[in-house]
Symmetry: C2
Subunit: 142 residues, 2 copies
DNA sequence: ATAGGAGCTACAGCGACTGTAGCTTCAAGG
DNA sequence: CCTTGAAGCTACAGTCGCTGTAGCTCCTAT
């Protein structure tokens, strides 16, 4: 039996975040003490650890919902989990590619900046004039 | 003189986004027609293009505010812009490093997944047991 | 004169939390 | 047994950067 604080501490989660996960249905509503405080079982700890780990790997809460559902039904086929993981990998690869393009552009801007007045600043100039860029960056959704 | 729609079209921005930038003080309040519609000058187009370009490079609106301020005062020293750009570069590098670690972990999970029942799924297993991971991923803030 | 596309304001919603206010409860020490 | 202070409770607002909606009004081409 853990208090919410103990659960949070053991998983590196904030107490509010634990309550939030309960609110959005990722964690079950736990038993309560007579005074209304939450009391958790070891299984809840495992579930929260799973959620946190998946979050660290960048999975969205809705993807985590699907993964938890699979984990809750061990007899089911795991291809759903595979699909979700592959989708996440593609997303991560897309973001890396985009960030690498940004990194190149930023490095170029900074390398060319010689200091001095803002009027002659390479950084500002590049921002003003898109044609100086190597790539077209795509939309700002990281 | 551009309508808000023309301005939006020329910069690849949504009309609502233009109004939002005005609301948060990134774009000035433009003149209005007798009927209350916004009418923009070419300078506003430049300013919006600057904002969009900086957004594509991943700068936050508050960083963009600082950059615009420098751009508005050409006599000032440009070292502020350099500092902001370097900060952004560090942030981008940090994100790339993190995403590369995630990519490795995801690839490993997927590679080891042989299909079959969810009970034996490598993907789910890795998520359940953090000790199977090579890195500790850090916190989920991308 | 009319039609319909464009613009207007105001506000809600997204995702995934995080912080705050104003309480109540729990557990350890005296 | 009582006190004290940390921890927990609910409810709600705020974060960031938009995006979408409802219900209007305006502008312009025919």
């Amino acid at each position: 039996m853990y208090s919410i604080g103990a659960l949070a501490r053991q998983t590196g989660t904030k107490v509010q975040t634990v309550r939030y996960y309960e609110q959005v249905g990722l964690l079950p509503q736990p038993d309560r003490t007579a005074g209304g405080q939450r009391r958790y079982q070891p299984a809840d700890l495992d579930r929260l650890a799973f959620i946190r780990h998946a979050r660290q790997l960048g999975f969205s809460l809705s993807a985590i919902r699907e993964l938890l559902d699979l984990s809750d039904h061990p007899a089911r086929d795991c291809s759903g989990a595979d699909t979700i993981a592959r989708r996440q990998l593609r997303e991560v690869e897309r973001r890396i590619a985009r960030l690498e393009a940004l990194r190149a552009e930023l490095r170029r801007m900074i390398r060319d900046c010689q200091g001095g007045a803002a009027a002659d600043c390479r950084v500002l100039e590049v921002l003003r004039d898109h044609s100086e860029c190597l790539t077209d960056h795509g939309d700002p959704a990281d």
